[in-house]
C-alpha cells in the first residue's frame, strides 16, 4: 500500500501570490494513497526540508510529491532530503506549480485549479515509482573546443593549463577567428594581432593542445564524460607534416585572381594560400574552387616549386574519431548579409562597406597596406558617414531584434582613428542610441566626440544614393534638430548586426544543445549558469551564446574552461538510473530502437524462447547497455510493440499522468 506525502511550497509570494496553496494541499490530501498533505512558506529551506524528513519518518511515507518550482531548480535538493530520511531518492516527484502555473497565470481560481491538476498528476506518477539506484561512469580526461577564435583559444589554453588534453577544431585553415581580422581594439587601441598572435602561438606550442584546423565536427555521439566525436579534416591538398609554410607556392601560383576571403574579398590572392602571415598552423591550403590543377588537371606549378614536396592533389578528407569528457562550443559570429538593406546601396557601390571591411581597409596587412583609400578609385576619402544599428534592434523581418552590443564602441574607435590619422576627413555617425556600458567605454566615446570632433547625429539614414561623380549622397534625419540632412560622402560604413555563425545550428542539433530564436545557444540558467548549456557536458564560450566584446568573451571563455576542468577533475560521474529496458517477450527485434538511440546503447542478441506448444524458437531481441543509456526515451516511442520501457518514466506512469490530467 502506497503512503504518499504531499508538500506544497509557497515560494514566498511567488506561488502563494497566485495559487491558493492551502486549497491545493487540502484537495491533494484527498487523493487516493495520500496520507499526509501540507503547505509551507519555503519548502527548500532547512525548516521545510526538516518538515519533509519528519513526515517521512512519522507517517512511514513510501513516496513524496513536492509542489514547488521547476525540477531543474530543486529536484536534486528534495531527492537528497528524501535520502536523508531513508527514502529512495527516486520516490520523489516534483509538481512544477511555479514556472508552469503561478508565474504564467493571473487569476487565482484558474491557477489554483491548475496547481491541483499538476499535483494530482505527480501523485499518479509517484504511486507507480519504483526505487532506483544510480551507478557510476568514468570521465574521459580530454576536452573538445569547437571554434578557434579568441573564445576557443582562451578556453583551450586554460583547460590545457590545468593539465588536460584539448583538441581545438577550427573550420578555417588557421585559428584566430574574427579577432585576427580586426585592426585595433577598443578602448585601449592596441593592435588586435599584437595581443592575439601570442595566444595563437601559445596554442601551437602547448603540447596538451592539438589543433585541427580546416576541420569540422561531423558527428557527436555519447554523453557527458563520454562523448564520441568524429572530426572531418578537410583536404588541404597539402601534406601538413611536410609543408614548412615558406610561401613560395603562393608566390608562384598563377591563379592570382582568387578573392582573398581573409580580406573579405577586398583584394585577391593566389589559389594556394596562407591566410595571413601569423597563421597557425602556417600551412598552405589549395582553394579547390579556383585551382586549375584540381579543376582541369592543368598547371601543377605549386607542386614543382615546393621544395618539401608537400603538395598532394589527391588528398582526401580524413575522418578522425576521438573521445571527450566535455565539449565547448565557441562557434562565434558573422556580420549579417546586407541584401535586405538596399537603401544603403551596399551592393551598388564598392565605397559602401561594412565595419569589418573597414577594419581590413585600415589594417597594415589589408589591401591598401594600412592607408585608408576608397575601394572604387583608391583615393583618400574626405567625408565618411557611419551608420549604426544596420540590422540591429530591427523588429522587421529583415534584421535582428537584439542589440549587437559591439557596434557603438567600434564605430567610436573607427571614427577616432580616422580623425587621428587623417584630420582633414570629416566623420559623421548616425545613431539610434549610443550604448557604452563597460569599463572606460563612455570615456572612450566622449573622447571621440569632444577631443576628436566626430559629428554624432541622432537619427537614421534613409537612403544612400551613388552619384555619377562617384560621391555618395546620404540622406538622413537629425531627430534632435528635426532637420533633414544631405551629406555628400566619399565612403559610407555600415555597422552591420552580428549573428551566430551558420554552422552553429546543425552543431546544436548534433549536440542536442538548445538554441534561442536567434540561433544563439541557450545557457542552463541565464543568470546563474551562463557558460553551461542545458545539455550536460556542453559548455558555451563567446558570441555563440550572445553578443559580446573581446574582454567579455575572454572572461566567459575562461569561465567555461573552469567548468570543464571541474568536470574533468572528477574521477567518475553518477549515472542516471532512469534507463531503458526491453521486454523480450514483446520485442520484435526490428531495430527501430537501435536506429533512434543517440547514444548507441542498444544491441541485439539471439535468444531462445519457449513457445506455447512446447517448442522453442530463436528470436532476435534488443538489449540495452545501461552504462551507455541516458534515459532520453526515444526508443520507447519508436518501439512499435511497446516492448521498450524507461525506468522512472515508464509508459504506465506516463499514461497514469495523462489519465490524471484528463480526469
Amino acid at each position: 500500500m502506497q503512503k504518499i506525502g504531499v508538500f506544497v511550497c509557497h515560494c514566498g509570494t511567488n506561488i502563494a501570490g497566485t495559487v491558493d496553496v492551502k486549497a491545493v494541499a487540502e484537495a491533494l490530501g484527498k487523493e487516493p494513497g495520500v496520507v499526509f498533505s501540507t503547505e509551507y512558506q519555503y519548502m527548500c529551506s532547512e525548516a521545510g526540508q526538516n518538515l519533509i524528513k519528519d513526515a517521512i519518518k512519522n507517517y512511514g511515507l513510501t513516496g513524496i510529491v513536492v509542489c514547488s518550482c521547476s525540477p531543474r531548480m530543486h529536484e536534486a535538493t528534495f531527492r537528497k532530503t528524501a535520502a536523508a530520511a531513508g527514502l529512495n531518492s527516486y520516490m520523489v516527484e516534483i509538481a512544477n506549480i511555479r514556472e508552469q502555473c503561478s508565474w504564467i497565470h493571473k487569476d487565482v481560481k484558474v491557477a489554483t485549479e491548475k496547481a491541483i491538476v499538476l499535483g494530482r498528476t505527480a501523485i499518479a506518477k509517484v504511486a507507480l515509482n519504483t526505487p532506483l539506484t544510480a551507478s557510476e561512469t568514468p570521465v574521459v580526461k580530454r576536452a573538445l573546443v569547437i571554434g578557434g577564435g579568441i573564445a576557443g583559444i582562451q578556453t583551450a589554453l586554460d583547460i590545457a593549463d590545468a593539465g588536460y588534453e584539448v583538441d581545438l577544431v577550427e573550420k578555417e585553415p588557421t585559428i584566430g577567428g574574427k579577432m585576427a581580422q580586426i585592426d585595433k581594439t577598443f578602448p585601449t587601441l592596441d593592435c588586435a594581432a599584437c595581443i592575439l598572435t601570442p595566444k595563437m602561438v601559445d596554442c601551437a606550442q602547448n603540447e596538451k593542445i592539438h589543433i585541427y584546423a580546416y576541420s569540422e565536427v561531423e558527428s557527436v555521439k555519447g554523453f557527458v564524460g563520454n562523448f564520441n566525436v568524429t572530426i572531418k579534416k578537410k583536404a588541404r591538398f597539402v601534406d601538413e607534416t611536410k609543408c614548412t609554410g615558406c610561401g613560395i607556392c603562393t608566390e608562384k601560383c598563377p591563379m592570382k585572381k582568387t578573392p582573398n576571403l581573409f580580406n573579405l574579398g577586398l583584394d585577391n590572392r593566389s589559389a594556394i594560400y596562407i591566410p595571413f602571415a601569423q597563421a597557425i598552423p602556417k600551412i598552405a591550403t589549395i582553394d579547390a574552387d579556383y585551382c586549375n590543377m584540381l579543376k582541369n588537371g592543368k598547371c601543377g606549378v605549386c607542386s614543382k616549386v615546393c621544395a618539401a614536396g608537400a603538395i598532394d592533389y589527391k588528398q582526401q578528407d580524413q575522418y578522425i574519431e576521438q573521445q571527450y569528457g566535455a565539449i565547448v562550443v565557441a562557434t562565434g559570429f558573422n556580420p549579417i548579409k546586407l541584401d535586405n538593406y538596399s537603401e544603403f546601396a551596399y551592393n551598388e557601390s564598392p565605397d559602401v562597406v561594412t565595419s569589418l571591411e573597414l577594419e581590413r581597409l585600415m589594417n597594415a596587412a589589408g589591401p591598401n597596406g594600412g592607408t585608408l583609400l576608397r575601394p572604387s578609385d583608391k583615393t583618400h576619402p574626405h567625408t565618411i558617414v557611419f551608420v549604426q544599428c544596420v540590422g540591429s534592434r530591427d523588429t522587421t523581418d529583415c534584421g535582428k531584434p537584439y542589440c549587437s552590443k559591439i557596434c557603438c564602441m567600434y564605430t567610436a574607435k573607427h571614427a577616432m582613428l580616422i580623425r587621428d590619422k587623417y584630420p582633414d576627413t570629416e566623420v559623421y555617425v548616425f545613431y539610434m542610441d549610443v550604448r557604452t556600458p563597460g569599463k572606460n567605454f563612455d570615456e572612450f566615446y566622449r573622447r571621440a566626440v569632444e577631443d576628436y570632433g566626430v559629428h554624432y547625429i541622432k537619427g537614421m539614414v534613409g537612403k544612400v544614393m551613388p552619384q555619377p561623380d562617384g560621391k555618395l549622397l546620404v540622406r538622413g534625419s537629425d531627430l534632435l534638430t528635426d532637420e533633414q540632412l544631405k551629406i555628400e560622402a566619399d565612403m559610407v560604413v555600415l555597422a552591420a548586426a552580428i549573428e551566430p555563425d551558420k554552422t552553429a545550428r546543425p552543431l546544436a542539433t548534433m549536440l542536442t544543445a538548445s538554441m534561442d530564436t536567434n540561433d544563439f545557444f541557450t545557457e542552463a540558467h541565464p543568470k546563474l549558469r551562463p557558460v553551461e548549456s542545458p545539455t550536460a557536458g556542453i559548455f558555451l564560450s563567446g558570441v555563440c551564446q550572445g553578443p559580446k566584446d573581446i574582454p567579455e568573451t575572454v572572461a566567459q571563455a575562461s569561465a567555461a574552461a573552469a567548468k570543464v576542468i571541474g568536470l574533468l577533475a572528477k574521477p567518475a560521474l553518477k549515472s542516471n538510473p532512469c534507463t531503458a529496458h526491453s521486454d523480450e517477450n514483446l520485442c520484435n527485434g526490428c531495430s527501430s530502437c537501435e536506429r533512434v538511440c543517440p547514444y548507441g546503447a542498444i544491441s541485439y542478441v539471439d535468444k531462445e524462447f519457449r513457445m506455447p506448444d512446447r517448442t522453442t524458437k530463436v528470436r532476435r531481441v534488443a538489449s540495452v547497455n545501461p552504462a551507455v543509456c541516458q534515459g532520453c526515451g526515444a526508443c520507447t516511442v519508436a518501439c512499435p510493440s511497446g516492448a521498450m520501457d524507461l525506468s522512472g518514466f515508464s509508459n504506465k506512469q506516463i499514461m497514469a499522468e495523462v489519465d490524471a490530467i484528463c480526469r
Binding site: 514483446l586 536506429r595 530463436v618
Partner: protein, 322 residues
C-alpha cells in the same frame, strides 16, 4: 505465366532446393483466391494458380508460415516485394530460408466492382489481355479490364521488384502515380468535414482485425491491442470512438514502415478506405523529410527513425485536425 511458375516451382521442389512453395490457391470461385503452402508437385498441379485475382500480398503470409530449418519458395509481385524488403530490414523474416521469385503483375481485378455493376450468380471470370469475361447464371458480360481493376492497381507505384533470387518475365520500372490525389482531396477539407468523413467511414468498422492480420507491417510478436499491459488495449474499446482510435493508432504504428500495398483496404469487409490514412502519413513524410518509399532497399533508414542535419524543425510541422 501460371504454367511457367508451376514448372519452375516443381523443378525447385524436385531438386531439393526448396521443400515448400508459397503461392496462391483457387477456392470455390475463380475470384476467391487464398495464399497457400504447397509441399508436393501434385498439390501444385491441382491447386496452384496465378491470375488477375491473385491480389493477396504473399509477404505477410510468408511471415506467418515461415520455417527456419528449411527453404521455402515464395512468388512475389512487385508490390509484394516492397513489403518483403521492409520485413527483411526489420529482421522479421529470415531471408536465408527463402527463395524469392519475382513475377510480373499487370493489375488485379476487384470482384466488388463487377458485383457493384449488378452481376449476380457469377460462375466464372476469365481475363485475357484487356478483356474480362464474366460468365453468370443469367448470361455473360465482357468488361474492359481497367474499369474493373482494383483501386490500388490503378494507382500502381511500381512494376519493379525490390528483392528476389530470380525473375520470371521482364523487370519493370517504378511508375509515376497520382496516388496522393485522394489525400489532397482530404487535405482540402475543413477539419470538421474531414472529421465527419472519417467518423462516417470508421463507424462501419466491426473490429474484425482483418486489416491488422493482412498488413505486412503488422508483425509484432504481441500487438499492443492484445496486450493488457500496454494501457492501449482498453483505449480502443473505451467508447463509440473506439474504431477511430484503433485505426489511427495502427496508422501511427506503421507510419514510415507502410509500403502502401493496399492490403488493409482490400481485405476490409466494410470497404473502409484505410489505405488513405497510411497514404496521408506517406505524403507528410515525403513533404517533411524528402521522398521516401519504404521497402525500396534492405537496410534503408526510414526518416522517422533516422536523423539528418537537414531534418525539419518541429515548428515546421503543420497544425491541423479538430
Amino acid at each position: 505465366m501460371q504454367e511457367v511458375m508451376k514448372k519452375r516451382a516443381k523443378e525447385l521442389l524436385a531438386s531439393g532446393e526448396v521443400t515448400r512453395v508459397i503461392g496462391w490457391k483457387k477456392n470455390e470461385f475463380d475470384y476467391d483466391i487464398t495464399p497457400a503452402v504447397f509441399e508436393t508437385a501434385e498439390a501444385i498441379d491441382r491447386d496452384f494458380v496465378y491470375d488477375d485475382f491473385c491480389g493477396p500480398n504473399l509477404s505477410k503470409f510468408t511471415f506467418q508460415h515461415q520455417k527456419n530449418d528449411t527453404k521455402t519458395l515464395v512468388f512475389l509481385k512487385p508490390c509484394d516485394t516492397y513489403s518483403m524488403t521492409q520485413m527483411v530490414t526489420e529482421h522479421r523474416v529470415n531471408r536465408d530460408a527463402l527463395y524469392i521469385i519475382g513475377i510480373p503483375c499487370f493489375g488485379k481485378i476487384d470482384i466488388e466492382k463487377i458485383k457493384a455493376d449488378g452481376m449476380t450468380g457469377i460462375l466464372s471470370v476469365t481475363s485475357e489481355g484487356a478483356d474480362v469475361k464474366v460468365h453468370t447464371l443469367y448470361g455473360d458480360k465482357t468488361y474492359v479490364k481497367i474499369d474493373v481493376m482494383a483501386e490500388r492497381c490503378l494507382a500502381c507505384k511500381s512494376k519493379y521488384h525490390t528483392i528476389y533470387d530470380e525473375l520470371i518475365g521482364e523487370e519493370g520500372e517504378v511508375m509515376e502515380t497520382d496516388r496522393f490525389d485522394q489525400v489532397k482531396e482530404l487535405e482540402a477539407m475543413t477539419p470538421d468535414q474531414r472529421f465527419e468523413f472519417w467518423r462516417g467511414e470508421l463507424s462501419r468498422c466491426i473490429r474484425c482485425n482483418a486489416c491488422r492480420n493482412a498488413c505486412p507491417a503488422c508483425t509484432c510478436e504481441s500487438c499492443v491491442f492484445d496486450n493488457p499491459e500496454s494501457g492501449i488495449a482498453q483505449k480502443a474499446a473505451a467508447d463509440s470512438f473506439e474504431e477511430n482510435m484503433f485505426h489511427i493508432i495502427r496508422a501511427f504504428h506503421v507510419a514510415g514502415r507502410c509500403t502502401d500495398c493496399g492490403e488493409c483496404s482490400r481485405v476490409c469487409p466494410q470497404h473502409i478506405p484505410l489505405h488513405l490514412l497510411n497514404r496521408k502519413f506517406i505524403s507528410d513524410i515525403n513533404g517533411y523529410y524528402g521522398e521516401y518509399q519504404a521497402g525500396e532497399e534492405v537496410g534503408q533508414r526510414a526518416p522517422l527513425v533516422n536523423f539528418t542535419k537537414e531534418d525539419v524543425e518541429p515548428d515546421v510541422v503543420a497544425k491541423g485536425g479538430k
